[in-house]
Amino acid sequence: MQALAAGGAFGAFGHLPAWSQETLVAARTGTPPELRGPNFDLTLAETTVNFDGRTGIATTINGSLPGPTLRMREGETVTIRVTNRLRETASIHWHGIILPFQMDGVPGVSFAGIAPGETFTYRYTLEQSGTYWYHSHSGMQELTGIYGAMIVEPRDGERIRADREHVVLLSDWTGTDPMRALHKLKAQGDVFNQNRPVMRELLRDVRTSGLSAALRERDMWNAMRMSPTDLADLSSTVLSYLINGSAPGANWTAQFKRGERVRLRCINGAGNTFYDVRLPGLKLTVVQMDGQDVEPVTVDEFRFGPGQTCDVLVQPTDDVYTIYAQSMDRTGYARGTLAVRQGLSAPVPALDTVQWLTMADMMGGMDHGGGHGAQTQSHQIDSGSNHGGMNHSAKGGMNHGAMGGMDHGSMSGMNHGAHGTASNDLAKPSTTVRHARTEWGPGTDMRVDMPRTNLDDPGVGLRNNGRRVLNLADLKTIGGPLDPRGAEREMELHLTGNMERYTWSLDGLAFADSKPLRFRYGERLRVILHNDTMMTHPMHLHGMWSELESPGGEFLARLHTIPVQPAQRVSFLVTADALGRWVWHCHLMFHMDMGMFREVVVA
């Protein structure tokens, strides 16, 4: 029995007798200490925390939440000694770092884990630079505080010119034992949803758009037993939203001097929360994504999910700005301040109103006339029919413009046979939808036959919000792909789940029932991720880069975590050059623990 099993978290959270709690020290929150390599010593232990009145016991690194920011240099060989002072097995995973698999830090796959009282020494050479983070890969320890930022400075000096930089590590804190929250979700999938459709909204919609339109909007959702507000499993009912370990009331402040160009190294280290980040009054120039420099793109706002990092440059002209990160379900926010001195604050925006998921989120490519997206196993899309009617919903913010990125050239992919992997067809990702046999089981509540493949949708809640929001199609990693080869083979994986049962899986099989995915050593592989659920899943492959491509097969960005929106189908190329055992999973902690998780063997 592996200690990574979820039950382990019980011991570390709130079940201590009172006398023993008193012996714990309080965690240091706010900007964490910075440690510089090549040698690091990290100690994991329990501490107490208080976030705007929500108290609890955290698991922290060197007594700080977030853990210390580790600064390293590209090309350097680092030695990191991690000592476990918890009462359960622990681990540290270096998220997005290319390293030997034995150093990857996944108990039960890459090593045995770090037993209580023991020290494990990680040693590896950095072959990359950029903004990354590290976190526990054991049980619920990441949710309870074991995470920190990791900055790898480029060997040849920084390409991104900034006068000052700050790490903005966003995370979330469950105000209850994470396992208790999980138990509640298992009992009732919408237990934390504060935006369930209600009668009052129906009456309002009847008034504004008429009875039949109001009913029509709801019909499909109700017929399918799906909720249009299933935006996040956990809400502010149980979560505190943190910026560098600080709840909104603590007003964490990053300072700058007038005239400076400031780089914000934003990291999403949350267990559950997609954040929509903006600094009202400032344009954000996105210069790096997942640690890799991208061609600068200027936006007002960006969304990122657990596991992702996004570096932005800002050029403040006023004295004070709010750093505002709403949760995707609009029940709360993390907030900090960017100011010329401590003690200032700017207005905090109101939460955006909740947008419902649209038919496009449920049925994917249904709503582009002609349906060039993809086709089902055995049926051609009737290209003569017009499916435009899908967009009539009053709340459906999905504009047809957002579909503009559809590459109609991908029509050629439609000629694929049932297996879609003939080598001459691999220039572009297959558009033949191939559901796994196991997706017809009780663990799967729906299947998308006509996914959307466009990448220029900022996602539910951000559509047509009047702000320029970053989307995947905006990303262009400088320097192109690491490997010039095209795909030699294709692997299709479906993201699946059942919100009523709160089960999560891939291809309808949870981890326990799965077999590993084998990447053939040295091959250039295309992985297609096809989302058969109503939620966005940040999919993280360990050990190798995921090189995102457009629907037409052109290289876009080198990432370690790819968010896949509802009913979306995205693809990326991987060079299987890292021998060993790795894992690949959804970075929403509960989805991961419920089995949306695979072992990967490169051999």
């Binding site: 996944v106 209600v198 109700n222 399918m224 037993r225 899908m390 063997v601």
Partner: protein, 331 residues
């Protein structure tokens, strides 16, 4: 306007689920041999599952009732555009094909001393729902306390269920039904249940074998139907359905109905052959939290046929209005 057409085309298909579900269960009740057959078709894992299972079961017995909706679903736009239920096509992808013979936690590249990773998907979860714990007032002043709870414990697709329902009047257990069932998930929203039912109270105790289904029908109707087989060829059927109508996030109106049928007269327990009792009511609850909600409600209960004869013979009324106030909670 294709979108609209699409959604309305889905409706009959999914409504057919509910209709055929009821039909199937009526069939189950009509005799123990049918019961055995019916159960087989629901619990056997290799059977086509989910809505289709219900449709096909009904289709075998009553083609007229279900052929229309099935035909409708078959001609739905886009042919295979069936997003839920059904059974996999012949050429569905093998989810294990990508493993190419590799196993988790064993073989090449597994570091020494590593025990195979296990995650929470292997854990057992449990909860107990007290759906109703209420005081009941009737016009004749025969006040009583009523309870209805359901507990579960186990893994995702196979688990134990305990259902208990009963009435206590003047400190005495008047009438109770307790079931211990093994639940097995057969489709996204449906479980089969198999086990025993024990009746205790002022009448004669009865033991039954129980087989049923429970789940969430399209449009969010919670349905449950159980057929029972008792000593001496006794049969019974219970159907119940409820719906949460959210007025606000906290104020929820729950209509609920329950129907019981018996295959034989049971004079000692005042149950007559055929449709025995039907109940329909509404409860308005206020969710202080998602887990605890006080409520008030009203319920109409009526006895039919021989059952109403028994009730009247013992000086009761064959229909009554019951006012209720209580608490529902879960943990």
């Amino acid at each position: 306007m294709n979108g609209i057409k699409f959604s309305w085309r889905l409706a009959p298909t999914t409504l057919a689920e509910a209709v055929s579900l009821s039909l199937t269960l009526l069939l189950l009740a009509s005799g123990s041999s049918v019961l055995a057959q019916g159960h087989q078709s629901h619990s056997s894992p290799q059977t086509a599952v989910g809505p289709d299972a219900f449709q096909s079961a009904a289709a075998r017995a009553t083609p007229d009732a279900s052929s229309t909706p099935i035909a409708d679903s078959a001609t739905m736009d886009h042919g295979s555009m069936q997003m839920q239920g059904g059974s996999p096509p012949e050429d569905a992808r093998d989810p294990n094909a990508y493993s190419e013979g590799f196993e988790r936690g064993t073989g090449e590249h597994v570091p020494p001393g590593v025990t195979r990773l296990e995650l929470g998907d292997q854990h057992a979860f449990g909860n107990l729902r007290v759906n109703r714990l209420e005081r009941v007032w009737t016009r004749r002043g025969s006040n009583l306390t009523s309870y209805d709870l359901q507990g579960r414990f186990g893994r995702d697709f196979d688990y134990l269920v305990v259902k208990a329902e009963g009435e206590v009047a003047k400190g005495k257990l008047h009438d109770s039904r307790t079931e211990f069932l093994w639940a097995h998930a057969v489709a996204g929203y449906w479980d089969t249940q198999l086990g025993v039912r024990l009746d205790k109270g002022t009448g004669r105790s009865r033991e039954w074998l129980a087989a049923g289904i429970q789940g969430l029908a399209p449009y969010w109707f919670d349905l449950s139907a159980t057929a029972y087989l008792g000593n001496g060829g006794r049969t019974a059927l219970r159907l119940d359905g409820e719906y949460d109508w959210r007025l606000t996030q906290k104020l929820i109106l729950k209509p609920r109905t329950e129907w019981t049928f018996y295959g034989k007269d049971d004079r000692e327990n005042g149950r007559g052959k055929g449709l025995s009792t039907a109940t329909a009511g509404v409860r308005l609850r206020y969710e202080i939290t998602r887990q605890i909600a006080p409520y008030v409600g009203v319920e109409w209960q009526k006895s039919f046929g021989r059952t109403s004869d028994f009730v009247r013979a013992s000086g009761g009324r064959d229909s009554q209005t019951r006012w209720v106030a209580g608490l529902s909670f879960w943990f």
